[in-house]
Symmetry: C2
Subunit: 382 residues, 2 copies
């Protein structure tokens, strides 16, 4: 196995400096000797998810980014707007590793049978510090990928797949029968469509561009509404009537969309109302905000009665709530369907140094649908 005896590896770091800037750099870190229950994974593929960019950029305005350092050890500095400085206060001066999830090959293993059994296997891993050439992790945290799966195919086994599965599970556990999803043409959104088609769950997709609507219809989505169209509210209401969706998962967060979804849900609920109620329908309408593509304030025009909720939704507390066994079932489903339901696509594969090129940052920091990057920390080094 190449690099089986590597003693150091590069790791990407993000640090907020007292002067209100974020500094991104690569550092050399020692590869530890794995404890009996641990393995060393050579990271071959790790996606840049929107959920990684919060930690990576610390809310900085990346249009202010300036490059320094060398080609192998680039350094990027960018200014954090005053409003975001306060939110970043808790991490001031800490050089933090980044990267939620990855896939790679187990190149070293601790003495335990569980660890030894993983030697040479391609595994998917979750847990932070994945933008690194090597990652030491407990054997029990490794999801073994089916034979013939490449690290690139298995790199996004957790964040998007478990989030999509978690949305459907939350919908069920809170008593709803169909759901709404925004920014619906994303990798996550496409997975959610495949899950819902496979599991016969009603799904209303909200997108912002006609080409994204086309993309979703091509993969079989039945309900796609374009929020930029003048007929949006009518089309959304009809889709809600047809599906009975009363819960939404919103990746955007800022602006009026969450409130509009609630208003359309109320209109759908009142479609067959028998008598006027001054407090609106008694149907509980819920929007969970799980992302912040628009970091601006959420503006809720309360025209939909009193039976409503808007709140944050996050994968980790959801997994904690359902417990290890239920979560493990979800993970195993992901591994089994990694090349179908949970297949991801990427625009570009870059090295760690490549991820710190200003030209690349300018592209992936937009978090635009269809512009997803994959980091291969060992690109060119094998």
């Amino acid at each position: 196995m190449p690099n089986a005896s590597a003693t150091t590896g590069l790791q990407l770091r993000s640090e907020v400096k007292p002067e209100g800037i974020v500094e991104l750099s690569l550092v050399s870190v020692a590869v530890p000797e794995p404890k009996p229950e641990e393995v060393i994974v050579r990271v071959d593929a790790s996606p840049i998810n929107p959920s990684d960019q919060g930690l990576l950029f610390a809310g900085a305005d990346m249009s202010t980014a300036k490059a320094s350092g060398t080609a192998d050890h680039p350094v990027v500095k960018a200014t954090i707007p005053p409003a975001a400085v306060k939110a970043a206060a808790g991490r001031l001066g800490q050089s933090l590793p980044v990267g939620n999830e990855a896939a790679g090959v187990v190149v070293q293993a601790g003495a335990s049978p569980a660890a030894q059994a993983l030697l040479g296997k391609t595994v998917a891993i979750l847990g932070g510090a994945m933008y690194a050439q090597y990652r030491c992790i407990k054997a029990v945290q490794c999801l073994v990928l089916p034979p013939g799966t490449t690290p690139a195919e298995g790199a996004s086994c957790f964040v998007n797949p478990l989030t999509a599965l978690g949305m459907v599970a939350t919908m069920r556990s809170e008593g709803h029968k169909a759901l709404v999803h925004t920014a619906a043409a994303s990798n996550l959104g496409q997975m959610l469509n495949k899950i819902c088609m496979k599991d016969s769950v009603g799904l209303v997709n909200i997108v912002r561009k006609p080409e994204h609507a086309d993309l979703l219809r091509k993969i079989g989505a039945a309900y796609v509404c374009n929020s930029s169209a003048p007929s949006f509210m009518d089309e959304l209401t009809e889709a809600l009537v047809a599906t009975g969706a009363t819960i939404a998962f919103d990746a955007i967060g800022g602006g009026t969309l969450a409130g509009k979804i609630l208003a359309a849900m109320e209109a759908a609920a009142n479609r067959n109302a028998k008598e006027y109620s001054r407090y609106g329908s008694t149907t509980h309408k819920q929007v969970y905000i799980y992302g912040g593509l628009d970091r601006g304030p959420t503006e809720i025009h309360r025209t939909f009665g009193m039976a409503w909720g808007v709140g944050g939704w996050l994968l980790t507390p959801f997994l904690q709530k359902i417990g290890f066994e239920a979560a493990q079932k979800l993970r195993e489903r992901v591994a089994a369907e990694v090349k179908t339901t949970f297949a991801s696509t990427y625009t570009k594969e870059v090295s760690l140094a490549g991820a710190l090129q200003l030209a690349e940052i300018a592209v992936y920091s937009k978090q635009a649908t269809g512009e997803k990057y994959l980091i291969n920390p060992n690109k060119g080094s094998k």
Copy 2:
């Protein structure tokens, strides 16, 4: 008993007309013969709560109100702004009775023992159509007031007392240990302070004027924050640290206050945080909006992590959720403490015709703290 044989009585009505106006008037309605399980209550006192004004005014701009009719049968018409017309569409052309709660004397009773037992008793009643001289209602719905209680003292036995008790019960059932209340110097807010002092529950009061802070401190409130003060966020955060309050009940609804409360709760939760979490604290922070003193949009600046919720809260679904028996216990507590914990004060007592005088509407429609009206539908007629 006076009027025991009355065959008709005046009733206040509100109707939305197709031309986008609301019309308020008094109509003569027949007093029905009570069925065996029913009684006729002569309504002597019924408060004008904020929750009544939604139905009464239908969202109309009352500064446009015009009077017509006679002194005994006044008619008031006011224009409904375009934004509110849609919300009122469900009640178009329906002449609706108004008034959630009242107190009065049982002047006629059906044949059943339960009904007969109420004859001559002073009772508090809930159920709509209370702005009327007589109200036919089931005996089981009557809350008998302790001897020596006047109808005026018992008029507000339900909406405010049960809402205040419901807030404390919701706080407990959702796992919080203290609560925040806005518009806290209201009748409801004063009750909530008395309940919390009696039951040793931490309460953070938010008011908008220094004189309201003084009022609450005089009745013993420990934590009062003035949202108009420049030091508001700091004072609120300190009060949240001291009480551990992680749930708020907000009567205002519009504007940035709900989001500010969540931000202060997050700051309080992070006060003792050991390490930086990019997703904020794991403490769930909740704001329930139960009123709409500001009908404008709710503007939420999401600077407080992902463990948060904002939603509607309403008394009736709360009572349905806890069930009849638990609700009955709350009602009995109200009756027992109606002159102490649950005492209400009113600015003025008016007749039904008086409630439709433009000068009076101009005062009570402001829903200002300390400007609460009581309707006595039989004022002057006894």
